[in-house]
């Protein structure tokens, strides 16, 4: 991101590569942390690894980065998500306990829409004729009720192989309690069809509740034959070019895993893109030299069709245990489950709403103005793109209000047609409401902002968290256009605009740790447990984690093991996560119990002191710390006056002749006072009156809201 083209003959580098729908972003960081470079190249959809290599080649050329000097490479990819959404997963088979082979067809037994006669239930990822029941049964306590019929497994495997499947998922009832039958089934499949890929539910998701567990195994089975070779090929090509290190991949939980692990567990990659963006936002905030900015942030990514919000406390994003891949948007209530395919792996908890740059504004039949979720997307796009779109969108509103420069959109790569934007807003919104065009445009922006404000409140206030203690970190092309107004409405004091909001994801990949997550179902009342029984399961998972970290060459002093218990009252199902203190005495159980009751009180407003508690699952996270890049040496500029490139009329609560600054000409320590527009290649920052922005030495803009007397 620095302009100077230095050569580092001896330096070593880390690279983060994020492959998005349009662009492949490459961020290169010198290991001494002093230089951060970035390259944007076009994504190559037919073979995304081409774009990956093109990006590296360009970085190598422009910044003198020797491939052999790359010590660490992290990759984020949408290949897993796209394979599911576009139905391009591998043909797979499923073996279940006999009598239960329709588990995918039945799913949650609900319909995904309540009042739509023409709804569709998601089509199972494995068709019914490739789902086969196997005589076997293990009870909830792990006792064998019916022995495994291994001959039936072999027969089924041969049948499925003849059908052309490339992977077989095995998901038997209560396999979380005892995986013995699943493991013997794997051996039987290997005997019948050597080389067949086998995915066990007890390996990918050893948790109770059969449908989400089976679904997770099936998603992994459908992905492995597609994602595994992609990663292998990428590794191969990188090795050919002399890349001197193993490749890592970003996971849905915001951690990274080795390429080797990712090939076996691609289900962990499904939400890696959004996760990387959140990690990037947290990293940027953590790098600020500016004193007094909260280390707790709300990451707000505004794209073309949706906006996503996540909450990060002191660098640690909130995690969800389960999500659905292929669902239209992340549901806000559990009542609307069943729109996609459940995946039970840890994922950064996000709220996604239908409001982005392309969201369409219209007057509904009741006479109210609504914005989104319908989107014009990139094609036909907003009216002002002149690519066939006729409807008024959020981008059109921003243009009409003077917040975007028609000549400098995406650095001038697309010229916007302000007349078309005005016409669309006049026809669709202003005229029906009896408003002026600018007033109508402001109404569109206010309503879009209100939706994002609701989403932020949903993940903060609902959790008992006051958003005013947080700093807002926007990303995506439209993020900085809206962020300051949203923050002001929520009563936030600070907005942190990253230096390159469009590159947050690639940067985030270099700003996280190796993370391996383990889970085991225990499902026993706390009072029946002993410290020894608790630690034997935790140690087992911790040992497996340590072994993986050793395999990743993580030195002992950079490893960390975190243990958590999921606890609820006997009879409840939705457990709260409680950290397990490093205490080997029997006292540990009382500490967990007390921490749970306190957490229940704060979350739900009541807590019984006497009712028995239950440990449902135990979790272990094995962390391998990775050094962070440092963003500490942003150029000093020629002063604010020199960075001002234009003045134009911008509509805030009234039209104001507003100075426009070129962000690349602003230097560390410069202060821009609102009203102002700060433009850069991938976005524009809108500063209303009463706000000011300071360029932090790390390159971010720190916007302070509530500035007196200007």
């Amino acid at each position: 991101m620095e302009a100077t083209h230095a050569t580092y003959p001896t330096a070593r580098f880390r690279v983060g590569v994020d492959i998005g729908g349009t662009f492949t972003d490459v961020v290169v960081v010198a290991e001494d942390g002093e230089a951060v470079h970035c390259v944007k190249v076009l994504t190559t959809p037919d073979d995304p690894s081409e774009g990956f290599l093109n990006g590296l080649a360009e970085a190598s050329e422009r910044f003198g980065v020797d491939m052999k000097a790359i010590s660490f490479a992290v990759h984020g990819t949408t290949i897993a998500t796209n394979a599911i959404i576009q139905g391009k997963g591998a043909p797979a088979g499923l073996l279940t306990s006999a009598g239960f082979s329709d588990v995918l067809e039945i799913a949650y037994q609900t319909r995904p829409a309540l009042y739509d006669i023409f709804y569709e239930k998601p089509k199972p990822l494995v068709p019914r004729y490739r789902c086969i029941g196997i005589p076997e049964r293990i009870t909830a306590k792990g006792e064998v009720l019916t022995a495994l019929d291994e001959a039936a497994v072999e027969q089924a495997a041969r049948q499925l192989a003849a059908e052309g499947v490339e992977a077989i998922a095995v998901a038997f009832l209560h396999a979380y309690a005892d995986p013995a039958h699943e493991r013997r089934a794997r051996a039987a499949i290997a005997r019948a069809v050597p080389g067949m890929i086998v995915v066990l539910s007890s390996d990918v998701c050893p948790e109770y509740r059969e449908y989400p567990r089976t679904s997770t195994a099936v998603v992994n089975a459908v992905l492995r034959p597609r994602v595994g070779p992609y990663i292998a090929q990428l590794e191969h090509r990188l090795a050919e070019r002399g890349l001197g290190t193993g490749l890592h991949l970003m996971t849905s939980s915001g951690g990274i895993i080795s390429a080797e692990t990712a090939k076996d567990l691609p289900v962990n990659l499904v939400e890696s893109g959004p996760a990387a963006g959140v990690i990037g936002a947290a990293f940027v905030a953590g790098q600020l030299a500016h004193e007094g900015v909260s280390k707790r942030i709300l990451a707000l990514d505004i794209g073309g069709t949706t906006a996503k919000v996540a909450l990060v406390d002191d660098g640690v994003p909130a995690l969800a245990d389960e999500f659905e891949v292929g669902a239209a948007a992340r549901p806000t209530t559990t009542a609307s489950r069943g729109q996609g395919y459940p995946v039970k792996t840890p994922a950064i908890s996000l709220i996604e709403i239908g409001a982005g740059g392309g969201s369409i504004a219209l007057i509904d039949p009741g006479g109210a103005l609504t914005v989104g979720p319908e989107s014009a997307g990139a094609v036909p796009g907003p009216a002002c793109y002149s690519k066939g779109g006729e409807r008024a969108t959020i981008t059109d509103a921003n243009l009409v209000l003077g917040r975007l420069d028609p000549e400098f959109f995406l650095g001038g790569s697309l010229t916007l047609d302000a007349a078309r934007a005005r016409e669309a807003i006049r026809r669709d919104v202003a005229e029906p409401l009896g408003l002026g065009v600018e007033e109508a445009a402001r109404a569109i922006i206010d309503i879009a902002n209100a939706k994002m404000i609701s989403a932020i409140e949903f993940i903060s206030i609902q959790q008992g968290i006051d958003p005013r203690e947080y700093a807002l970190v926007p990303s995506g092309g439209a993020g900085p256009l809206h962020a300051v107004a949203i923050a002001a409405a929520l009563g936030l004091r600070t907005v942190v605009i990253p230096q390159m909001p469009g590159l947050n994801s690639a940067l985030g990949m270099l700003a996280t740790d190796i993370k391996h997550d383990f889970v085991r179902t225990l499902y026993r009342p706390i009072r029946q447990l002993t410290a020894a029984s608790l630690w034997s399961l935790l140690d087992e998972m911790a040992d497996a984690g340590t072994a993986l970290l050793k395999k990743n060459h993580v030195p002992a002093d950079q490893r960390e093991i975190r243990c958590e218990a999921e606890v609820c009252y006997v009879g409840q199902s939705y457990a709260l996560r409680i950290p397990v203190p490093a205490d080997r005495s029997e006292g540990v159980l009382g500490q967990i119990d007390a921490a749970f009751r306190a957490s229940h009180q704060s979350k739900y407003g009541f807590a019984s002191r006497t009712e028995p508690t239950l440990v449902t699952n135990l979790r272990v996270q094995a962390l391998g710390w990775v050094d962070r890049p440092r963003l500490g040496s942003y150029n000093s500029g020629q002063g604010v006056a020199a960075a001002m490139k234009d003045r134009r009329e911008v509509h805030f609560d009234r039209p104001i002749e507003t100075p426009v600054y070129d962000r690349t000409l602003l230097g560390a320590g410069d202060v821009v006072v609102g009203p102002a527009i700060i433009e850069q290649m991938d976005t524009s920052t809108v500063l209303p009156e009463g706000t000011s922005a300071t360029v932090d030495p790390s390159g971010s803009l720190v916007v302070t809201i509530g500035v007196e007397g200007n």
Binding site: T333, A368, D446, F606
Partner: protein
């Protein structure tokens, strides 16, 4: 908002600007959704925490329903009726901050006794500004058999009847009232936990409404409520007026009332005119001495469900929408039952009424109406002593079936239909918590009615009681009259309820309580959906996929 809110005088939104309006519209819905999340996470019974058989709503101080979270359509009208009725009866002036009242009386405007509604007032600066309410299906409220599903003749046999009763005062639960309730139910620990979850949800919702009022002011909130109701009503009227207007009739039968073999006749006259939709059930069977009755409120839920399917998908659900709908005709029918009618199985009636409305409308809008589907709840309840835990256990669940084929596509397989949409209970969770075993759970091949578009498949779930004998109740229907097809589509398969399915295979009536011996099994087999259009016109690739996937039976 930092920017000035533009005012608008051009549309019907006269008293409030469009931005504030839209912001508040989303915010109150979010408040009810937060309530839904709270109740689900804090609840104890499988029926609420896993199957999500509950709904949440906000009412303004004039007792109009302003917003609902969309959990169960069956609660659509029920809560909008019982919450205001109970507040009026209890006396709004007697409700202080932190108070809560419970009510479940079907004949005061609720559904069946298992659906307990909890209502809490919200105060701001000393004035009541509205009420939060939630309705949740409790696993047991006493009565003659586990899960309160007994085949009874009067309401008094079905469980404890709760008139509007204060259960909490100043945020504290009144143990006298709670103990009275818990002494009358079979699963007091679950009921107690579920009631606390319901209270907790209301307090969460109240905090949110207070915060909104603090931000926008009580006067703006009042204007917003007025405008939201009027706006929704305008929109509903617009959409209903766009449908063909006229009056249409249809008839169908439920199998029996559980005491005789006599079919129970239902007759519906549906009228769409002047932006309103009405349903008159004159000609239906008189009130029964059986729990198959449903109340007028439950019948209105069926009407509201169908109407909601026919209007714009973004239309809000509140009193503005509901005011365009009405169930007319006499009281005292099997579908407008009065005290002391038993009603626990009334949803089986209401489910069929929803489809009867679709059937009546079919000639007027053939491209918008599905064939008949499962149209049942399939209530299953069982209970007895749990020899492992040495405590009384009580469990209830409902099983999905086939959806009716649509004019342009097949019916969905293994879904809940019409008025409810409860999830299944995971087998692993059930077997961990109750002394039962599920030995089979799958689709029933061939159960979907043939057609150009095939009906969805029904589901079979078999239960075993390995540890002790158990009382098992099924309260359902659909063994005799199959879900109809439309335009030449074949009917779906009927339901079956079978004792000892792998041995003597005795067919059980659709409404009964039996003692299943230790080690015994019961099989529940739900109906498939009816087909749509001539089966001969089915696309070849669709037929091939049916055969390959075993959705249809091998003709040989």
């Amino acid at each position: 908002m930092p920017d000035i809110m533009p005012g608008s005088k051009a549309t019907g939104l006269t008293d409030i600007d469009p931005v504030t309006f839209e912001v508040l519209r989303n915010a109150v819905i979010n408040a009810t959704e937060e309530m839904a999340l709270t109740i689900r996470r804090a609840a104890y019974s499988t029926n609420i925490k896993t199957r999500a058989d509950f709904s949440c709503a906000f009412f303004d101080s004039t007792l109009r329903c302003i917003a609902q979270s969309f959990a169960q359509p069956s609660h659509l009208v029920a809560m909008a009726t019982i919450a205001p009725a109970s507040i009026r009866e209890y006396g709004p002036d007697r409700l202080r901050p932190g108070d809560a009242i419970l009510v479940n009386d079907p004949h005061r405007g609720s559904s069946h006794l298992n659906d307990i509604t909890c209502v809490t007032p919200v105060h701001f600066e000393g004035h009541c500004i509205g009420y939060l309410a939630n309705m949740a299906h409790h696993v047991d409220v006493g009565g003659s058999s586990p899960a309160s599903l007994g085949l009874n003749k009067e309401l008094f046999q079905e469980g404890i009847i709760i008139p509007p009763t204060r259960v909490a005062q100043g945020g504290e639960i009144d143990d006298n009232v709670l103990n009275l309730l818990l002494s009358n139910v079979r699963a007091p620990r679950e009921t107690s936990g579920d009631l606390r979850a319901q209270l907790s949800a209301n307090f969460v919702g109240a905090a949110r409404i207070v915060a909104l009022t603090r931000r926008y002011g009580a006067e703006v909130m009042r204007q917003f409520f007025d405008e939201l109701i009027s706006y929704t009503e305008r929109w509903a009227a617009h959409d209903l007026a766009a449908l063909p207007s006229g009056s249409w009739e249809a008839e169908a039968c439920r199998d029996d009332d559980g005491f005789s073999d006599e079919p129970v006749r239902l007759k519906a006259r549906v009228t769409i005119a002047d932006g309103r939709m009405t349903l008159d059930m004159t000609g239906s069977a008189p009130q029964l001495a059986s729990p198959l009755n449903c109340t007028r409120t439950m019948t209105a839920c069926a009407l509201a469900f169908v109407a909601r399917c026919l209007v714009s998908p973004n239309l809000s659900i509140n009193s503005g929408f509901l005011s365009r709908l009405e169930v007319t005709g006499p009281d005292g029918l099997c579908c407008t039952a009065l005290r002391p009618a038993a009603v626990v199985g009334g949803w089986e009636m209401a489910q069929k009424i929803a489809e009867l409305i679709f059937l009546a409308l079919h000639p007027a809008m053939p491209e918008r109406v599905p064939a008949s589907g499962k149209a049942l709840i399939v209530n299953l309840g069982f209970g007895g002593m749990d020899p492992v835990r040495n405590e009384y256990f009580c469990y209830m669940e409902t099983i999905a079936g086939g959806g009716g084929a649509r004019p342009d596509r097949d019916g969905a397989t293994a879904v809940q239909t019409n008025l409810h949409n409860t999830e299944n209970a995971p087998i692993e969770e059930v077997e961990m918590n109750y002394p039962i075993r599920i030995v089979r759970y799958g689709l029933i091949p061939g159960s979907g009615g043939a057609g150009r578009f095939r009906g969805g498949l029904g589901v079979r779930r078999d239960f075993e009681f390995p540890f002790a004998a158990c009382s098992f109740t099924v309260f359902s229907d659909g063994r005799r009259f199959a879900p109809w097809g439309l335009e030449g589509g074949a009917p779906g398969a009927c339901a079956r309820y079978v004792l000892d399915p792998d041995g003597e295979a005795t067919d059980l009536p659709s409404k009964c309580t039996v003692m299943v011996p230790q080690g015994g099994r019961v099989s529940v087999q739900t109906p498939g959906g009816g087909g749509f259009g001539n089966p001969g016109e089915r696309a070849a690739d669709a037929s091939a996929a049916d055969a390959r996937n075993g959705y249809v039976l091998d003709p040989s």
